[in-house]
Symmetry: C2
Subunit: 480 residues, 2 copies
């Protein structure tokens, strides 16, 4: 039976009208009632632009209140929100706009000059649209089976595909997190991560579902995060590994306040030495494992186990299931991680083949490798076949390889991640050429088709790529 | 889409094996892992008795660990649990056993001598059943759409009917409560109420869903509840009005510990003077409103509003909706309370007519009267047409009237509640007789067909019942 709930923001504005919903670094804040009114106003403006239920609307935006209003406005209209990564090139963005069947792109002011292949409107332009219309029906209820958001991920094929997330996926993600981390009256969750990624978005939704203020930074800045924890009553913060390192360094010999209770670490395995340092310093780092397809964390180390099981991502959250996909049912055997649960996407948009490949009886094959110890704790040993995680962003080698071989003279390309002090990992490319390549041409091509963080930081010309007996590229042998 | 989750107890035993699940007044406790093993053992024993998925199994029991094991054992087998009120007469019990299509009744030791119309087994007898069988399949997952429990309620018709509660109803009830009350690492919830009522049962299920120990008393005892709050680290307790009165008296000039954070008050409206006294004494009483049909509380006064809105039951929990069913959409207008949400029953067992009457587009007509103030806070003014709430038990006048008119010589009967210092309300009967009635006969009849708490404490012989123009009994005019 498909469940319906009252619209989350309408309900929260009724339950906690005057409570802070969002706090910003400039000291400003917005209450739930104000967020409700602004979102409804945006919804009416969008309806006056002709948008209606079922339309796909893309958002390209840095973190700001207008972005949050736009997401909720879309849900009032019943349109699907396509969240775009601001670091992408115009080519990558247009590819995703077309693929997602978006009819409009809404942008923050910094993107007003970009040339998109669909109609564009900035927040400023949207503000000046009238909200008067006779027959606008805004959703008063949410059907949990409906698609709410889409986000792009590339995976092993190298072609970005949109993960569809239902309202139910987000709801279950929020409630399963609360059953693990608890919920205190004084909780305030800091988002130093982009809202277009699932980690940021899911926390933004938790704010409304929990009635818990969030503190939103435009982007990660070690000084600002440090200040928020020390002086702004933040109790939980979502981070990626590289941020933990910088925060510990910044903390020096100080201690975080007593009420600061969780540094939720996602986006790839953390070095054991870092976790041990956090433990010694009494910093409550909780390792977790999740992905866009699971609508944020699906495995988290509980408070009780955080110190006993260093290096583990924990156990699957209450309503989730996890198995290692190998023939043996033994502990400590590495295999592919497969997951199931009501927070798991029902599939990629318009990708029947990919969906057939990764779903099996509603179990999702993550492509990540790991094992369970004797007590059933998950240890992730390798993210999705050669996935490179660079400062929290996922980079798929195959996507870069596809772009490289488009260059005349590059016959074959292989990409792997190499360690980098600042970002954790960065991509390095190995190319086989049939004629000399001009670096200027190469750079221009990469700049056009790849976001900066995806561009190889090293390019090596080699004679042939390492391949296995089945002639498959063996990326970890590149450069060896 | 019907959601599945891992079996709740299996999952909790995996996540928090050694944590206390249940604590008892004798100082004993049981961990989640132990509760899991015991419940699985009971499930295998029940399977060996021939019980299987889809069967209906009744439980007649005072609060004890065996009762909790039996409920979970049934869920491992996929059988529906029918929870019976221990205060009922053998006639009432047999009526419910037959109506619910129960094939077995499992009882605590005090009921071993009762004569039931279905097969009976006591916990002691069950213990001696073998659990060895080759082909027992215990559920590893729970489908939220499946019926888990049934409990009887009488309503306006006077004929008890079974409220069906799905796993999903209980799940949503538990998660919606957490979004209102929060969840702390040190939470421990005291149950001084019978587990066969929804208030007790829902807390028992919260224990497993939240990973939160519960402290279970066999029955309400003011000394034991007082001691649990003062000395046993209880943070939340579920109570009915009469208990609050006695607890405040018992507290005297003392104060509850700082960590005691919630006295959740259900089972009917509380006198304003009592709530004000609690406020003055700094006792965190949270008024709530709910019923068997809503799988426990559906409206609760939030911590922020508890002191501002004394006398109100609060606002509907996050995923619930509530309206007052009258033509005007104005505040402060009394009308029937109607509710909707994923914790609301899908209907009474085998009662098509009653279901058609109370459900309208998945809105449940509660029969209770109330109003919403300007801010949308609910004030319950009258429970379900003439419902008498006596020490937390619901008594339906029509049920007593039906029993009275079965006596030869009683032509008509009317029952209403009258104030009583100890129980809040007790039933009083008004009868119209065609010939003299022997009190001995009357008493014997009532004793046979009505649980003690339902028997009229006063019986008045009158000439005619007060009726309105449509010839309908007007109960509030009885005795006036």
């Amino acid at each position: 039976m498909s469940e319906t709930t009252p619209h989350w923001l309408t309900k929260r504005a009724d339950l906690s009208p005057d409570k802070n919903a969002i706090e910003f670094e400039d000291g400003n804040s917005i209450s739930y009632l104000e967020l409700f009114h602004r979102s409804q106003s945006y919804a009416k403006k969008l309806a006056n632009l002709g948008l209606q239920q079922g339309d796909h609307i893309a958002i390209l935006s840095t973190n700001c209140v207008e972005m949050i209003q736009t997401v909720y406005a879309c849900s009032y209209l019943g349109t699907v929100v396509v969240l775009l990564n601001t670091k992408l090139t115009i080519n990558e963005l247009n590819q995703q706009l077309i693929d997602s069947d978006s009819t409009l792109i809404i942008t923050s002011e910094s993107f007003t000059k970009s040339e998109f292949e669909v109609q564009k409107i900035s927040y400023n332009e949207l503000e000046s649209v009238s909200e008067k219309q006779n027959s606008i029906m805004l959703n008063e209820e949410i059907c949990l089976d409906d698609i709410f958001t889409m986000m792009y991920t590339s995976g092993t094929t190298g072609f970005p595909k949109a993960v569809q997330q239902t309202y139910g996926n987000h709801w279950w993600s929020a409630t399963s997190s609360v059953l693990n981390l608890g919920l205190h009256e004084n909780d305030k969750w800091l988002i130093p991560l982009p809202l277009f990624h699932v980690s940021g978005l899911s926390t933004m939704l938790k704010s409304v579902i929990y009635g818990m203020p969030i503190y939103v930074l435009e982007k990660f800045d070690v000084e600002k995060v440090h200040d928020a924890i020390m002086n702004r009553n933040v109790t939980i913060v979502s981070v990626v590994t590289v941020m933990v390192q910088r925060l510990i360094k910044r903390l020096g010999n100080n201690h975080y306040p007593y009420d600061f209770r969780c540094m939720l670490l996602g986006g790839g395995p953390a070095p054991k030495s870092l976790l041990e340092e956090a433990k010694e310093r009494n910093i409550p780092v909780f390792q977790s494992y999740g992905m866009t397809e699971t609508s944020s964390q699906i495995v988290t180390l509980t408070p009780e186990d955080a110190l006993k099981k260093i290096g583990s991502a924990g156990k699957p959250l209450f309503p989730a299931q996890l198995k290692i996909d190998h023939n043996k049912n033994e502990p400590n055997q590495i295999g592919e991680i497969i997951v199931r649960g009501p927070m798991v996407t029902r599939g990629y948009y318009k990708r029947t083949e990919a969906n057939d490949k990764v779903f099996e009886n509603s179990w999702l094959h993550t492509g990540d490798m790991g094992y369970l110890d004797e007590q059933g704790y998950l240890y992730v040993v390798d993210r999705r076949n050669d996935l490179i995680i660079s400062g929290g962003e996922n980079i798929y080698p195959s996507e870069i390889e596809n772009v490289l071989v488009q260059i005349d003279g590059i016959e074959e390309a292989g990409v792997k991640g190499i360690p980098n002090e600042e970002w954790g990992m960065v991509p390095a490319a190995y190319i086989v050429c049939s004629k000399p390549i001009e670096m200027k041409v190469l750079d221009a091509h990469l700049e056009k088709y790849l976001a900066k963080y995806k561009r190889p930081k090293e390019i090596h010309i080699i004679n042939e790529l390492p391949r296995n007996a089945a002639n498959k590229l063996v990326r970890h042998r590149l450069g060896k």
